[in-house]
């Protein structure tokens, strides 16, 4: 007796090709997808660890104060108490780790002070601003103002 499915049997072949492809895909997935994927959400869990372990370049004021308590105390009493050390002295984490090998760059007083304190109609009124050209008659800011406690 003729198998009634005989004339449709060829349709199995593309179906089998499809299934074979699916199997290859599943095996590939098992082999290639990173192990930590899906740990916390739809991403590589290991990425969180990698991002956390990036090196820091700024040490943070508390670290500076640990070795420089004098300057920190002076600053805490003055108008620059909100200005953290590295805001003027630059990133100093490498200095904190090895103070002799890495020294923070010398602060360029004239350029630095003016960047914040140059008079600008856009700056808020409460903020101390001066017209640098008229203010000091050419003298350096440091001549009259101590940077860590600048009020006169």
């Amino acid at each position: 007796m003729q198998n009634p499915w005989r004339n449709a049997a060829h349709l199995i072949r593309p179906a089998l090709v499809f299934v074979a492809g699916l199997l290859v895909f599943l095996l590939l997935r098992q082999a290639v997808v990173p192990a930590s994927f899906g740990q916390y959400g739809h991403y590589r869990g290991a990425a969180l660890v990698e991002i956390r372990n990036a090196p820091a370049h700024f040490a943070g004021e508390a670290v500076c104060a640990a070795c420089h308590p004098g300057e920190a105390a002076t600053k805490a009493k003055g108008k620059h108490r909100t200005v953290h050390c590295e805001a003027c002295h630059g990133a100093a984490a490498s200095h904190a780790e090895d103070p002799e090998k890495h020294k923070p760059a010398r602060v360029e007083i004239g350029k630095l002070c003016v960047r914040c304190h140059e008079e600008d109609a856009a700056k808020p009124a409460w903020f101390k601003q001066v017209r640098s050209r008229e203010h000091s008659g050419g003298a350096s800011c440091e001549a009259c103002h101590q940077p860590h406690s600048p009020q006169m």
């Binding site: 004339n7 049997a9 060829h10 349709l11 072949r13 593309p14 499809f18 997808v33 994927f37 739809h42």
Partner: protein, 390 residues
Amino acid sequence: MHETIAGVQGFMYPNEVELQWSILIVLYPYITGLVAGAFILASLERVFKVRAVKPTYRLALLTALAFLLVAPLPLQLHLGHPERSLEMYLTPHRSSAMAMFGFVYLWYLMVVLLAEIWLEYRAEIVEWAQRERGAKRFIYRALTLGSMNVSPEARRIDDRVGYVVTLVGIPSAFLLHGYVGFIFGSVKANAWWSTPLMPIVFLFSAMVSGIAAVMLLYMVQCRMQGKAPSMECVDTIAKYLFYVFLIDFSLEMLDLVHRIYEADESFRSLDFMVHTRLWGSQVVVQILLGTCAPLALLALVQLVHMSESWRKKLYWIAGVLTLVGIFAMRWNVVIGGQLFSKSYLGYTTYKLQFAAREGLLTSVGLMLLPFGILWVLVKLLPPWREEQAV
């Protein structure tokens, strides 16, 4: 006062100045649009029984396949890390339209297009597998997938299954290209893209471009065979082109009129952009030359009685203008959406390079490649039926 950054007018967020998606991302919807459009034309005969377009059935399928095979290439060339593109299949993010699209593409390629072509050509493949020699014999034997059963009953089953595949294929084709529209249309951050009309506009313009492409390719095929094209076929295709184009045009005008009327916060900025940076590509090329002109020509053919030769001339002009116009539409959406700032205060410029990876030369190459593939496919699986000696 103007920003001193080259090509920038007004204010742009600092990271916005450089365009993210280049001409390759213009090419991609254009190519998938041709695929969807060609397939819909093929389904006109298979499912909707429009007998007149039967001469283009096989050609439309092969055209769809040739373009579908090229479609991933502009994407690969655009990616920062194409070697990681498999990640979209291995760890697809289900909330991302782009990720889900990878599966829509695969589904359409394998289950719809390849299955339909295989079922359509099976009888001849088996015959060629037995008749041909050398490399061609090997290819045909592989394509038979080991089955030589081409009895009338088997062919009847093939025909029935092919019908179901085409039936499933129509919404699949809609999904294939509608999805691309959705990828743009669902970006709420971009006022030029964000509209529910986007997938529909993309889809209808895809159908327009696909139908125009197959119409032209059919006339080319006939010319190469030294035969006259069936005017009943070409006239019918042109009629469908006209009607679908009318719908497409209406949808695009609806979007435009709606924007102008509502005039939300983005309107002034977008309006300025269209009047300046997008004037040539949108108003001149897309609307006037690429839509109004072909519509007028096709309308003329519908209304005025013309000789065969005149009709063919007009179809050629209308077809070419249509293909250019639909490309311009993709350009205006993709590039246009990146020329204005999300602050609505500024504009930038697209610097199209010539010989770079995402440049003009690459794009031209990518547009020519499907024709090369089509040529190979036509050699391997000729769309014309052989004179069967019974």
